[in-house]
């Protein structure tokens, strides 16, 4: 695992050097655009060659109720970290409801395989440490595309080690179990996005800036629990924007 991480770091630094060679007109939120574009392309290649086909196979081989169970299982483990972050954001009701979600799903939902809590109208609220930092006023900083992990910001990247620590599926002492869980999780996530990724490709003129703008909007949305103040100029109702 460590050797692999080192190789990734080397690869990343090579991509940085390569990225610096090209000059781009910069978006203020994306000063590292040329490097990001390189990593974005690299991720595309890896995805097309390995992750997407594996996810397609996963969908083909396993019946839908098994895949739903897998998704619910990880969702339930993820709720633990969401609850901690709700608490760090002083969201009392969300913390209590997520606590109830975990209990209901673990004990009534066969260890998290069934999402009974959602049926009971206990709403799922995803919170991570990046959102907690955002809640307390930490700005997102520059946009970053991470190798394999995809779009992020400097703030969210710095929060990532803690998010990984908080991930309950990585709390098993046995390394083989942890790795198996990681692989399954990647397949679970990617299989859920098979259509979305195709839609993004079909909908965009420039997939990179489409993904970047969507990611940045989505994070603001999540930090403000669905209602961020609009910072887009809609003009005065006339058809002609100034």
């Amino acid at each position: 695992m460590i050797a692999w991480t080192k190789r990734m770091a080397l690869l990343a630094s090579l991509l940085v050097l390569q990225g610096c060679a090209t000059v781009q007109t910069a978006d203020a939120r994306d000063p590292w655009e040329s490097m990001n574009r390189s990593v974005f392309q690299f991720n595309e290649v890896v995805d097309t060659a390995a992750i997407k086909p594996a996810a397609q196979l996963y969908v083909k081989v396993l019946p839908s109720f098994v895949r739903t169970g897998v998704g619910n299982f990880f969702g339930n483990l993820g709720d633990i970290w969401s609850m901690a972050n709700s608490a760090l954001q002083l969201k009392g009701q969300a913390t209590v409801e997520t606590f109830m979600r975990i209990n209901v799903n673990t004990f009534l939902g066969l260890g998290g395989l069934l999402d009974v809590a959602t049926e009971m109208r206990l709403e799922k609220r995803k919170e991570d440490f990046g959102q907690t930092l955002g809640y307390w006023g930490v700005k997102p900083g520059p946009f970053v595309v991470l190798p394999l992990l995809g779009p992020s910001t400097l703030r969210d990247t710095l929060a990532l080690p803690l998010d990984m620590q908080g991930d309950a599926s990585q709390r098993f002492s046995d390394e083989a179990t942890r790795n198996a869980l990681t692989v399954t999780r990647v397949l679970d996530i990617r299989s859920g996005l098979l259509q979305t990724v195709d839609v993004v490709k079909a909908a965009s003129l420039d997939p990179y800036s489409f993904v970047r703008d969507a990611y940045l909007q989505k994070r603001r949305n999540d930090i403000h629990d669905g209602n961020p103040p609009s910072n887009f100029d809609y003009g005065d109702g006339e058809s002609e924007p100034k």
Binding site: T68, Q195, A203, Q217
Partner: protein
């Protein structure tokens, strides 16, 4: 007149069913046909009773009721028609043109996505840009129609203190899996259409216009409005090919 606004019968029907939170705006879709019939019946009775025209009533509609009505109508149409769910583009385009476009200020949407360059575009360029943009959006979202089974659209209570010219209605599509955030940005258009026009759409926290502005600007900077139209047309052409 106010008490006859079309969301009233909905409230009555739902109270019968005894739903509590959000019950005012909630439809369980398997009963939607029944509710609609009741809804139409009550509305028709009320209208004939006072001799009020349907149009005058529609103009009084609250923004949440407006969104609930058009999303339910559209969902029911899609559920009833297999060709739509199978991605029959001609039929979907017809649905969009007849049921959705009358409620959308698409000129404003396209203008906002284009930015300052819109004013310099000729009427012919503006028309072509709107056409290509519409095809792009319809094709993009038509794939999602195959996912529609037993979803329910829940309109959330309106946030207080919003401006009539720029008003957000938050909704949630509930079905299997995590709920999908779907918000609409409306402007009040008294005496025009249903009294409200949609001019932006938010899917899962991403506003559509904002997400196209940068991409459009990039094309315009590279080759003007015509380059943007050409890119959109090329994208539409390659999307039309079966994968």
């Amino acid at each position: 007149m106010v008490s006859l606004s079309p969301n009233k019968p909905v409230t009555v029907v739902n109270t019968h069913l005894g739903r509590k939170p959000y019950s005012h705006f909630m439809f369980k879709t398997d009963t939607a046909l029944f509710l609609n019939r009741r809804h139409v019946l009550v509305a028709a009775c009320a209208a004939s009773f006072l001799g009020a025209s349907g149009l005058a009533m529609a103009a009084d509609e609250a923004p949440e009721a407006f969104i609930q009505r058009i999303t339910n109508d559209t969902l029911n149409t899609i559920k009833a028609d297999k060709a739509l769910r199978n991605g029959d583009i001609a039929k979907i385009m017809q649905l969009v043109d007849t049921q959705l476009m009358p409620h959308v200020n698409f000129r404003r949407m396209t203008a906002l996505a284009t930015g300052p360059a819109w004013r310099k575009a000729t009427p012919e360029q503006q028309k072509r840009l709107q056409e290509e943009f519409k095809v792009l959006l319809v094709r993009t979202y038509s794939g999602a129609l195959s996912q529609i089974t037993d979803q329910v659209v829940v309109v959330k209570p309106l946030r207080a203190g919003q401006d009539d010219k720029n008003l957000v209605v938050n909704t949630e599509v509930r079905g299997k899996g995590d709920p999908i955030q779907l918000d609409y940005r409306l402007e009040k258009t008294p005496g025009q259409g249903s009294g409200w026009m949609i001019f932006d759409l938010n899917v899962l926290g991403v506003w559509l216009i904002e997400n196209y502005r940068n991409q459009f600007t990039k094309e315009i900077n590279a080759g003007g409005i015509d380059a943007l139209i050409a890119s959109l047309a090329a994208r539409n052409k390659s999307n039309a090919k079966p994968a």
